[in-house]
Amino acid sequence: MTQISRIKRFSITDRVFHLFLMLTFIIQTATGFSRLFITTGWGKKLSYVFGGYETALLIHKWVGVLMMVGFVIHTLYLLKRIDWRNPGESIFGPDSLVPNHHDIKHLWQRILWFFGLGAPPKLNRWSYWEKFDYWAVYWGLPLLAITGLMTMFPFVTSRVLPGWSLNVAVLLHRAEAILAVAYIFIVHFFIGHLRPTSFPMNEAMFTGSVPLEEAMEEKPAWVERLRAQGELEKSAAAPPVAWYRIIYYVFGYAVLISGVYLLINAIIYSRHVALH
């Protein structure tokens, strides 16, 4: 039996979707903030990167449309992933991202572990916070898409709804965007890059695999399940090559630094702008 050093965690499709979301999200943050903070010196400079206020807005709109298309494609992909002969197992099984009662149990065990009152939870393939990360997009993106479309097409909107609904749409769009940005650039980046077991980078989304040792420590129930099913050997993956590691480290940290830069400046200049 060969020695397994890494096991497969994400498919190439999963990684492409994540890369797509990374790129579109960072562009939307930068163009959106350049518009939100345009009355400040920083906002003006940020808009120059995209060719000014109007061009930044144009990019924001088109990338927004691209995100919506990506969202629809991803939803179709999800539906395709469901095993319709056995939907119960497929939707609520251990490989699914759909929340279940184990997540509440794991959260409680995690809280006890924080204070030294119990053992860490034996997580399966997806932890409760990973599920939250995933489903947050499913409430955030539709809200951003609907309010974004309302402000993109104000005349059409005001034919269907009263014109003052645009005031509410702008407020919801900005508030949801700030929530998403704050969550991703603080919580997601910390969990992905800066906590001790991930530092300097959780490479799983770029390589598609994780070291077996790390998986046994973080997701013991998942590894045990793979072993019991005889799937562990099939899940074995090769370590990434050096040049590819350099590329995704540079790219990942560029996005991280850009995100933190945008967040810090947004906090600094927040007193100059209103949510609506």
Binding site: T39, R110, S158, G163, N167, L179, I186, A274, L275
Partner: protein, 227 residues
Amino acid sequence: MMQVNTIKLATRWLAISILGVLLLLPEPAAAQEEVASPIRRYKDREASTGYYEEYEVRPRHERPFVSIPGVREGIFPYSPTAAQVRIRTRLADSHRALKFYTRRRCEECHVAETRDIHTTRANLTCRQCHGGEPVASINHYFSPMNPIRRHAYVCAKCHEGASASYASYVVHEPSAGTFAAKQGFPILYYAYWFMLILLVGTLAFFIPHSFLVGLRELLSKKRKAEK
């Protein structure tokens, strides 16, 4: 007997004829105007306020119960004379009787109104929308801001194709979290607090959670290294 039958027959035919005339002829209208109602005219076909005939002249009388679709307006609460005294939003000269008015600037009193998107981003001045002196109150008939014509006289100058509903966008909206917003724009108020609670709630849970995960992992690593 014969005479009675003839009268009955004649009456029946007369009733049928009158009914036929009523059904076939158009309904009677005063002076055969194209449309009888000055308010409903073309309303079903155009996205506008419905006020067409009267926009160049003063209204004949106050019509407090007439409302514009999609535009929420209060019912006229006092007599017209009382309104002139008490409600500045209904004066022909909204700044009437203000001391030293000619020496003052708009932003000295209307501070919050100078900080919305239209003024800070589009660099609009007050008079571009509210008109010249004497600045009529926004609900007065003389004002271009009157909801009857705001969309055409003001909004459409930049937003070509603006409808009456579009013109109900609140340019000088109240600060969303305040009591003023709760009173004047409750949907905005509740949307703001919902999103704020969602934001604070999410971060209040996940930031300490992430911090504790990091701290606990650090301690575990240290223990392992010591072993």
